[in-house]
Subunit: 375 residues, 2 copies
């Protein structure tokens, strides 16, 4: 019997929002869930105890970055990702497909593999579906993502179709390359902004019976409305009895919109990246802590938030940023990650009680109150 | 009755090492004690909970830095330093004298005040003894340091004597300026490397009956042997029934050498600064975590250390530094501060049991084992 199991508990009566549990060898993930991003084997600015205190259940780490440095062999020697980071819960690793597209200087892509230059030292490297799986098996994550072919949008239908077809063939090769039963693979649906292509790709991948499915190639410059339109089409085409993961998304508003359309899992650098830049997410919309108006503000960033930032005043947090102290980014990263977890905890409760749409409306109304634009 | 009290419990049978408790309005400090430095109202790289977990009892913050940014008025509005940092224990603030000497571009020093240019924006400012006390009263620290006149070493005897005399007169003016009974002032003994001047300065200041005394103007380029020679002379000239604070010192070896000569209190940026640079203090001497030899090392930085760093492998910590991740400096700063607290906890126990000299010998033998030079 598989160590992975997906239990769909309930679907909201007035939307497609789902309440589920995904079981892994390192424990369950209550969904909908948000994964903090630990690109290089660390969630930027937080100790692993602080990550745990945000109530994160599962973390993501990046195959591309770790394969380049310190290399998957070093991570394996140091206990795999769980031992390396000292994270006892579930871990998901991406395949490197997105970083080949966004970070590396890709030099050639063939049916066999992507050839690219490292963004660190310019060395020439190759990433094939088989190699992407071998790296992730060495990293020892609970969930490995298949290697997909991400392309820039907008693109011609013929290019989107070719990338989809390759993504499907590569998914099969990833599946065939798997050696570790304690690692599940999720396939990735591509197809750009073309709804027919997305549905076709989802249906083709469904035939391969992966333990989970992701929507990839979004959050690459399209509008939120375009992204939501894709989700409207693609979610119903994805298997009901498998977790659905929307990769690299997004703002709090994006998360609730995607949950509403049937997405179960997310990851995004926004809470930590914006935190490092002095921006806080709250139920009353974003705060920019560097603003002078916070100088003498004795309120916490958000009243009632249990994070280590919210025991301090906004004035103190502002001072940390003005004085260029590490603690500013550390505290706002912890706050934002805690905020995301609180947002999804609330979403899970709302779905259970068939009031997700109210929850959505209430959160959106709060976010619109802010007079400070999001970064 | 004063809210400050110094209880001298025991003096080691074979050295001048003292075991004592200093009581403050924010709780007791078991001495000998080490204060982590929170220059700008934050101990660099640690949340305030992490500072507490190092077992630090009292923290230091810098008047010069806080007066320039965010200003003492802002700190006062935000609850004083205790509310600002959310540190419930005792806080000591320095007077700014040392930073005038080391950081600011001092433009003129007269009997009235030091005139200097801010290192942040070049603006012209004045620091008199009265102003140094007013700032520290606004900051709300438990212990305020008097404004002293620090001079560069080596110096002519006549210059050292003039600085000493001014330091004594300024100490009297600081005392006269005090308005808050919940703040104690410590006087600062100057006198360069001239033992007679040091003793004379200590005796003159003793007449003013301060609740505590510091040795200042050391750790400014002299050799350890020169510093220890000054302590040999000056400690016996300082009041027995008052805490003795050696400012800005030092390495673990310096701390034990000073405790042995009768010093009770320390502060230094070394644990955090070296931590940020990849250097760890251990009982077996310093480790440089960036060294290649730690790449595959599954051992913690120091076995048995309860700090958040030592739950990880050396290999992981090395990776964090190579990948330029914030967590590297965070973890090694926490480790080094925990190491300093462990060192002084051990010293207190050793003094109580009249085996401080053995403790000293044992630690020194361990530190000499290292093949990696200290930073």
């Amino acid at each position: 019997m598989s160590q992975f199991q997906f239990d769909l508990h309930h679907t909201d009566a007035h939307s497609r929002a789902r309440r589920s549990t995904f079981h892994t060898p390192h424990g369950p993930v209550e969904m909908p869930a948000f994964m903090p991003v630990g690109t290089q084997g660390t969630v930027k600015g937080l100790t692993i105890d602080m990550v745990r205190e945000t109530k994160a259940q599962m973390v993501l780490s990046n195959t591309y970055h770790l394969a380049l440095r310190p290399t998957e062999k070093v991570v394996k020697e140091l206990g795999g990702l769980h031992g390396f980071m000292r994270w006892a819960g579930p871990i998901l690793t991406d395949s490197g497909g997105f970083q080949l597209f966004s970070l590396a200087q890709m030099t050639k892509i063939t049916e066999q593999a992507a050839v690219f230059r490292s963004h660190i030292d310019g060395s020439l490297l190759e990433l094939s579906p088989e190699r992407a799986i071998q790296i992730q098996e060495d990293l020892g994550s609970d969930v490995a993502m298949v290697l997909d072919h991400v392309i820039a949008l907008p693109a011609e239908d013929v290019a989107i179709r070719a990338a989809c077809e390759r993504t499907i063939r590569w998914a099969g090769r990833c599946q065939a390359a798997a050696k570790r039963p304690e690692q599940a693979q999720f396939a990735i649906v591509q197809g750009g902004l073309n709804p027919k292509m997305r549905v076709w790709c989802a249906e083709e991948l469904a035939k391969l019976d992966f333990p989970g499915y992701a929507v990839g190639g979004l959050s690459v410059g399209e509008t939120p409305a375009e992204m939501y339109a894709v989700l409207d089409e693609v979610c119903p085409a994805m298997p009901v009895n498998k977790p659905r993961y929307l990769m690299g998304v997004g703002t709090p508003q994006d998360l609730l919109n995607a949950v509403r359309r049937g997405i179960d899992l997310f990851d995004c650098v926004l809470p930590t990246r914006n935190g490092r830049n002095g921006m806080a997410f709250t139920d009353n919309g974003p705060l920019k802590l560097k603003n002078l108006k916070h100088q003498l503000d004795t309120q916490p960033v958000e009243a009632g938030c249990p994070c280590p930032c919210c025991q301090h005043s906004r004035g103190y947090v502002r001072h940390l940023f003005m004085a260029d102290e590490m603690l500013g980014p550390m505290l706002l990263s912890a706050h934002n990650l805690t905020y995301y977890q609180r947002l999804l905890t609330g979403a899970r409760e709302a779905i259970e009680q068939d009031r997700f749409v109210q929850y959505y409306d209430q959160k959106l109304a709060g976010w619109k109150k802010s007079t400070e634009a999001a970064a």
